[in-house]
C-alpha cells in the first residue's frame, strides 16, 4: 500500500500486532512517552474509529467537521486573539491552560499508522481536541485529571487506548488520589459521558468566544458543586 496522507506509514498485520503490544507496554511503563501513547492509540483503534466516524456522520456539525477537516495548531488558532477574550470564554480558558502548563497547540503528534485517511483525521481530531475536554470537565493536567478525562473519552469514543489509560492510570495513582477519583470524580464523569453530547461533534474553533458554562449547558455537562 502506498502512503495515503502525509506522515502515513503503511504497515503489515504482523508489524501492527507487534507495535500495538510493545507500545502499550512502553506507555504503561512510562506514561510520559507521549509518542508511545500515540502509537498505541493508532495501532489498537480497530473499530472504535469507525464508531466515532459513524456518530459524527449522524450529526450535522459532525458531518461538517468531517468534510472540512479542521486542524487545531498554532497556524489555525490565533493565540493573541484568544488572550483578548473575556475570562469566562472557552478560548481564553484554553490559552490560559496552554500558558499554565507550558504546552502549545502543536504538542500533538501526527497520526501515522491508520490506513484510512478519513479515520486518520478522526483520530487526529480526537488528539487535538483533548485539551478542550480538560476545560469542559474542569480537570487539571495532573495524573488524576488525565485519568478522569480518559474515563470520559473511553466511554464516548470506545478507543481501546483510552480504556487502557483509564484503567491503567487509575491503578498508578496513589491510594489517596485513587480514592478521590473513585469517590468524587467518576460518580459524575461516567454518567455525564453516557448522556452528554459527543464531544467530537463540537466545532470548537467556532465556540472559542462562547462562555464556557453556556457550552457546558449546551452539551449537558454539569460540573459537581465544589
Amino acid at each position: 500500500m502506498a502512503a495515503l496522507y502525509p506522515n502515513h506509514i503503511p504497515i503489515t498485520k504482523l508489524s501492527r500486532i507487534l507495535l500495538a503490544g510493545s507500545s502499550a507496554v512502553a506507555a504503561l511503563r512510562n506514561p510520559y512517552r507521549d509518542d508511545m501513547v500515540a502509537v498505541c492509540s493508532e495501532t489498537t483503534a480497530c473499530n472504535a474509529l469507525e464508531h466515532m466516524r459513524g456518530r459524527m456522520l449522524d450529526d450535522e456539525t459532525g458531518r461538517r467537521i468531517l468534510n472540512e477537516q479542521p486542524r487545531v495548531n498554532s497556524s489555525t488558532v490565533d493565540l493573541k486573539l484568544l488572550r483578548a477574550l473575556p475570562e469566562s470564554t472557552l478560548g481564553r480558558q484554553y490559552v490560559n491552560m496552554l500558558n499554565k502548563y507550558n504546552i502549545t497547540p502543536d504538542s500533538r503528534r501526527d497520526v501515522k499508522f491508520v490506513d484510512d485517511p478519513e479515520l486518520a483525521f478522526v483520530l487526529q481530531r480526537y488528539r487535538e481536541t483533548h485539551d478542550f475536554n480538560h476545560l469542559l470537565l474542569g480537570q487539571r493536567t495532573n495524573l488524576r485529571g488525565e485519568v478522569a478525562v480518559k474515563w470520559f473519552e473511553a466511554i464516548q469514543t470506545f478507543l481501546p487506548m483510552c480504556w487502557m489509560a483509564a484503567v491503567g492510570g487509575t491503578t498508578r495513582l496513589s491510594r489517596k488520589r485513587r480514592l478521590r477519583l473513585l469517590q468524587q470524580d467518576l460518580p459524575w464523569i461516567i454518567p455525564t459521558a453516557k448522556s452528554c453530547q459527543f464531544f467530537m461533534n463540537i466545532y470548537f474553533e467556532e465556540r472559542l468566544d462562547q462562555d464556557i458554562d453556556d457550552l457546558r449547558d449546551e452539551m449537558k455537562i454539569y460540573l459537581p458543586h465544589s
Partner: protein, 286 residues
C-alpha cells in the same frame, strides 16, 4: 525427502494465508525502479539524486546516533558483537598495524582493535584513526572512548574523499558503513589509495541469505520487526526501514568482490557469517 518438501511448502502457504508473512510482496512492491540515469541513485527503495543521498543518509545517522549501539544490540540480539570480534580476528593486528577505521562512528571496531593489540602485543598506544562523515556519530564514539580511557584519533571526512595522504595506513576497515555511501567505487579507490603496498582492506557488511526459507524469515524480520523496534526504542520507524531497504540494494557478494578487483585489490575473498546475513570481504593492495 519429497514428503518433507511437500510439508514445507504447505507450511509456507499456510503462513502466507495468514497474510502476516509478506516479505516477498513487500520486496516486489517496493523495490524501487531501476534507472541508468547517472544522476539518480537509490536511498533504500526510493530513487534520489546523487546530490541528495549524502544529506538524507546524514539525516538518518543524526537521528540514530543517540541510540545506535542500543539498537544494534536489540536488533541483532547482541550478535553484531560476535561479527565485529570476527572482523578483528581476521585482521589479526599487531603492534605495527596502522588502522584506518572508516565510517567507524561510535568506535566498535577501533575499540576492539586497541584492546586486542594491547592484550596480545603489549603495545601501549595502538595506532588507529576513526573517520566518519557524521559528526554526531563521532561524538558518541569520543564520549565512549573517554569513559574507557582509550586514546585514538577522530576525523570527520567522507569515505569517498579521504583527507589522508597516499599510503598512510596498512589496514583499512569499514563495518556496516559502505552500503550508505553514494559512490561505492570511489570509496574502494580511496581505500586503495590510502593503503600501503601490502595493506589489507576489510569490509564487514550485510549480505544476502542463500537459503530461501531462511531468506523469507530474515526479510520478515528486517521489514516487519526491526522498524517496530526502531519506533518503540527510538521513535523512528523510517530510519530502520531505510536500514532494511539499503541492505537489499547493496551489490551481491560476487558483484562487490568484482568492484574490489576493479579498484585494484587482489587476493579478494569473502567469508559468509550467519547463513549469509553478513559477510567479511577481504582484499590486499599488492
Amino acid at each position: 525427502m519429497a514428503m518433507g518438501m511437500a510439508n514445507n511448502l504447505r507450511f509456507v502457504s499456510r503462513l502466507k494465508a495468514l497474510r502476516c508473512f509478506e516479505p516477498l510482496t513487500i520486496l516486489k512492491r517496493n523495490a524501487g525502479t531501476q534507472t541508468t540515469n547517472p544522476e539518480i541513485t537509490h536511498f533504500g527503495f526510493k530513487n534520489v539524486t546523487v546530490k541528495e543521498k549524502p544529506k538524507k543518509v546524514n539525516e538518518v545517522f543524526d537521528r540514530v546516533a543517540g541510540n545506535y549501539d542500543l539498537m544494534n544490540d536489540v536488533m541483532s540480539a547482541g550478535i553484531h558483537r560476535l561479527w565485529k570480534d570476527r572482523l578483528i580476528t581476521v585482521l589479526n593486528p599487531c603492534d605495527k598495524t596502522k588502522l584506518l577505521d572508516c565510517a567507524g562512528g561510535t568506535g566498535d571496531i577501533s575499540f576492539r582493535f586497541i584492546k586486542r593489540v594491547k592484550l596480545q602485543h603489549d603495545c601501549p598506544e595502538p595506532n588507529v584513526t576513526v573517520c566518519d562523515i557524521n559528526p554526531n556519530m563521532l561524538e558518541v564514539g569520543r564520549r565512549r572512548a573517554e569513559t574507557q580511557n582509550l586514546h585514538l584519533k577522530w576525523v570527520c571526512c567522507s569515505a569517498d574523499d579521504l583527507c589522508f595522504p597516499d599510503a598512510s595506513f596498512n589496514a583499512y576497515t569499514i563495518a556496516f558503513g559502505i552500503r550508505n555511501c553514494t559512490h561505492i567505487d570511489k570509496v574502494l579507490k580511496e581505500a586503495h589509495r590510502v593503503l600501503e603496498p601490502g595493506g589489507r582492506f576489510l569490509c564487514l557488511e550485510f549480505s544476502e541469505v542463500e537459503n530461501p526459507y531462511l531468506r523469507n524469515l530474515y526479510n520478515t524480520y528486517s521489514f516487519q520487526v526491526i522498524p517496530v523496534m526502531g519506533e518503540v526504542i527510538s521513535g523512528d520507524w523510517k530510519s530502520y526501514q531505510y536500514l532494511a531497504e539499503s541492505i537489499r540494494k547493496f551489490p551481491s557478494r560476487s558483484q562487490f568482490s568484482q568492484m574490489m578487483r576493479d579498484a585494484g585489490f587482489q587476493s579478494v575473498s569473502c567469508e559468509s557469517l550467519l547463513f549469509g546475513v553478513c559477510s567479511i570481504h577481504s582484499g590486499f593492495k599488492l
